[in-house]
Every structure is written in C-alpha cells, then in structure tokens.
Symmetry: C2
C-alpha cells in the first residue's frame, strides 16, 4: 500500500464519524500535511456561551479526551454545572459537561476579546496538545436551519431537543451567502493534494461547508483526487439521522444516494464492503467506487481506513 | 427581649461576616420586613463572566448551599471546570467551583439579555428558594480599587491573587459617583424602621455602599435606629484583612477604630463582650455602645446575635 508521498490532505468533517476518520488520518500524516476542516453550521449559543459541537467532538477526539460511549463530550465529565444551571431556571435540554463548559467559556471569552473562531480554535487545540490543525469552515456564522413539520428548528433543536423526530422538508444554511472560508480553509483548498470528505452527514455536516461561497466550485474544479467515504452503510446511517433525513428528502438511503449528493465534487466514493453490490450503480452516476471496510470501532479501524483512503488517493494520482 | 413589632430592617452587608448576621435576621424576620443590601464593589469579570462574590456568599448562605469550611462557594463543589479552563490557557487564580460557575454563567447570560443586576439577583435567589430579598447595592458598576505598594489592584486581585499582602495606601470606589442605589435599596432606605450595618469590612464592604451618591447622607439623616456590629474583635478582624488595612491606613485596629469610621451614620456600635472595656471610648466618639457576644459560629449564634441587635433597635426606638 503506497501513501501519497507529499502534499496536503484536506479533510472535510462533521462530528463523530468525521472525527473518527480524522483521528486515523492524524495518526498517519504529520501535522503540516493534514488540514481538518470542520462544520460549524451546528454552532449555537447556550447560556450565552458559544458552543461548537463538531469542533468540540473533533478536539476531544484528537486530544484523547473524548467519551467513547457517547461520541460527544469529555470522558468522565460530570454534569454539576448543568444541573445547577437548571436549578437557576435555565433551559438545559442540551447536555454540557462541567469540563466541557470550560471549553465554551474560554471560547466565548476569547471571541469577545476579538479573536476569530479560527484563532480561538487554534489556541484551544494547542492547549490540549493537538498538533494537527483543526479548522472551522468559516469565521463568520453559518447556521443550519431545518424546515420541519414541527416548524423551523436549529440543528441542535432538531437533533437533540426534538431527538430528530420531526419530518424534515428542507434545510437552509443561514448566513452562508455572507460567509467566507476561514483563512486556513481557503489556503488548504488552494494547496490540497487530496480532498477527503469524511463519513459525515451529507446534508447536516458537509453541505454547510459546501454552501460557503466558492467552496463547492473550488472542489468541483480541483485537480487533486477527491474521495468521499459513505456515512450510509447497508441502507442506514452508521450513526445519527442521515438516513432518516435522506428518506424524508426523497433521496435513496444508500451509498448510491450519497454518490448522487456528491456528484461533481467527488472522484471516488468509498463504499463499505457490505455495499459492494452498489459499486456499479455508483459508477453509473459518474462517481468512481472503491469498496473497503469502513466501520470504525477501534483506533486500529480508524487508522486502517485512513491508510486505505490515502492509498486510494495515491493510486488515483498515479493513474492520471 | 422585645423585637421591633413592625417596620423594615435594612441590613448592609459584605461577604462572610455580613452573611452570617443576615442569615440570623432572616430566621427571625419575615421576607417583607428584611432588605439585605449587599456590596458589589468586589464584582469582577472572570473568563468573561460576571462574578459577584458578596452576592454569591449571601445567596449561598441563605440558601443553605454555602461551604462552612471556606465561607465562600458551594459546599462539596468540584473544580473540574476551573481545572479545564486552566488547561485551556486561562488564568485561574480566582477559585470558582463547577456549580458556582453556573451562577456566573446564568447571571452573565441574563445581564446580557438586558436585565439589571437587581432583577437577575432577584430571579436567581428565588430559584434557590430564598424568600428574603437580597439586593445589590447598585445596578451600575462600582469597583473597589486599592492603591498599594504593589500597584493598583482590584479588590479580588488584592485579596485573593495577592493574599492581601501588599500594603494599602488608599482605596477608591471607581464608578461610584455615577452610580445610583438600586431601586430596592433606595426604597428600603426610605422605608427602613431600623438600619443594621453587619460585621463586614468597613473599608472594603461597607464603604463602597456608602460611596454611592445619596446613601451616606440618607443614613446620616435617617430617623430609624442605626446599629453597626463591629467586625474587629479583641484587636483583630474576626476574618479577612480588615485589621491589616485599618493599621495600614493609620486607624486604630479595634472597635474604637470602627466607631470612628461609622461616626455620623451609626447610633450604636455593637462590641463583642471581650471588648467591653472599649465602650466608654466608643461613647466618647459620639457613638453609642452595646456589648454582647458577637462571634457567630453555629446558626444559633447567628440567630441570637440577630435577636439581640433587633432588641437593641426596639429599645432605642422606645427611648426616643
């Protein structure tokens, strides 16, 4: 298996699934060869604090602090702060641990002092010993809003407060038209020798990134190998509401549906071994197909998938 | 022992000592007969959050949450949030517990939504089941600043960060000239049938309250009995840096020095039994003297001192 010998790998990611592959990539590539760009469409103010769920999941995953049971939050965290906030009359439907709160307090404090979200993220991740760059997709607010049969909901209202139960009719990425890619994201788009779309929700995690002006076009016209890993395996999302949302939006709940979503910005879709039978249909959509095990449980799984994805990129590069 | 049968008791208080007597008063008087006005000159922003140390000590004391070992904070609180903030590069010299943080988060959030500090305090204390009104001295910022041999320090920098070690030359209550008594404080000043200056630091806890325009004059010309309890017992502060500061400012470190400080706004100074020999000197300053046990350890001590102070007020009223 040959990995790309040089060049920057740009990974686009949402929360838990994306963080797993990003962890694998970070175990293989040195910091200067990996740019992990993370969705901030799920960011929301809770108790006056700026919470960035996907940035936090990525940060906790790469720092080793993450809770492997839940996928979010810090392992062993308590909920004393949240319980007290509840006693003090706050609406506490969004779970935030006591140590997790420190992240939101510090982020909010630094932002209020005039630092950009990129600068704050860079500082906080460095403080936790993370050497690989974790990059917010934008320093401007972009907010994923879902139009549902229960009204208009923010991503967290939909996903956490309403347990993803409402039927989704459409979604909007509010603020995206006025946003720009963060400086490091823009630089990584220019420099990328490979682009990896991690196994994250195409509509709720990846689409907000693509909605930032110039991003979709830059990827569509990019000369580097562009590989996406399907978050749908065996006709269902590995995790989260991607499958349910695809169904409600009339998409095929399968790797084929994912391929259609990524048409034009993806040279090869990585399908899980159990979806090997979909490879031809994916190729018929104009997207290449690569079949390999994609379920990541152990850290070895994460590294192995990352190695295979990078090897695929190297092969694609060679065949050009 | 007769207590005042009717009328409002206005208590002026700082942190731990003041909260002890206020607790005693709250066990005797119904909520509509007690107004506890608290120093906010020690308020400070930590990590972007509005921390009100004296309001919090009062709130935790009256709600039963307080830590009897330290006098401040919440009993059994953890420091996970603070430790994580430290890991994230924050300067964490000011101790804040994880549940304590909830108070500051909620206060800051409500303030940022446009509520006044009075309104926020009223809401937070009600949420904790406190029926007696805890009233910030002002809704405008007043900040106690100390000129010391180690430079200009905020109250918390002096007291906590520098462990009250620098020599104090003078102090200033920044913002006081532009501040007003909070609405409930102003109303209590008008309605008070007795005024109790709790055993708090005269310079750091009571003086900031008196520095608000109109407050000293209103008390100086008030017709209600005005009683102060000396925080200096046996030539030393019961707690905190009051004795050291009085010495550095050239004041007598004794109940006599306290009497001089309160001349003109106090009809009777309550001296601890061990300071009975100072009664004549206090009277010579034009301040009446009453001798009784003032050290409050148990809750019974607090109630007993409150009863005696209220009985003294009733007697003073009768003798007019």
């Amino acid at each position: 298996m040959t990995l790309p010998a040089t060049g920057l790998v740009l990974a686009l990611a949402g929360g838990v699934g994306g963080a797993k592959l990003a962890l694998g990539l970070s175990r293989i590539l040195p910091p200067h060869r990996l740019a992990i760009v993370v969705n901030t469409g799920d960011d929301e103010q809770f108790h006056g604090l700026h919470v960035s769920p996907d940035l936090d999941t990525m940060t906790y995953t790469l720092s080793g602090l993450y809770n492997p049971e839940t996928g979010w939050g810090i392992d062993g965290d308590s909920f004393e702060t949240l319980q007290m906030l509840n006693r003090l009359g706050a609406d506490t439907w969004f779970n935030l641990g006591s140590r997790d709160f420190a992240m939101h307090i510090r982020r909010t404090d630094l932002l209020s002092q005039g630092s950009s979200l990129s600068e704050v993220t860079s500082q906080l991740t460095a403080n936790l010993g993370i050497e690989h760059p974790i990059i917010p997709m934008s320093d401007q607010p972009v907010r994923t809003v879902l139009d549902t049969d229960a009204g208009t909901l923010s991503m967290q209202e939909y996903f956490v407060k309403r347990r993803a139960e409402p039927v989704v009719r459409s979604m909007d990425y509010v603020g995206a038209p006025d946003a720009q890619p963060s400086p490091s994201f823009a630089a990584a788009l220019d420099a990328a020798a490979a682009i990896v779309i991690c196994p994250s929700n195409p509509f709720l995690s990846v689409a907000p990134i693509l909605a930032i002006p110039g991003v979709r076009d830059a990827i569509a016209s990019h000369r580097a190998p562009r590989i996406a890993v399907s978050p749908i395996v065996g006709g269902a999302a590995v995790r989260g509401p991607a499958g349910k949302i695809m169904q409600e939006l009339g998409a095929d709940v399968s790797a084929l549906g994912v391929a259609r979503e990524y048409r034009g910005i993806c040279d090869a879709l990585v399908l899980d071994s159990q979806d090997a039978d979909l490879a031809d249909a994916v190729c018929a959509e104009g997207v290449g197909a690569a079949v390999m095990p994609t379920i990541m449980q152990s850290d070895e799984d994460k590294v192995q998938l990352a190695e295979r994805v990078l090897a695929l990129a190297a092969d694609m590069e060679k065949q050009r």
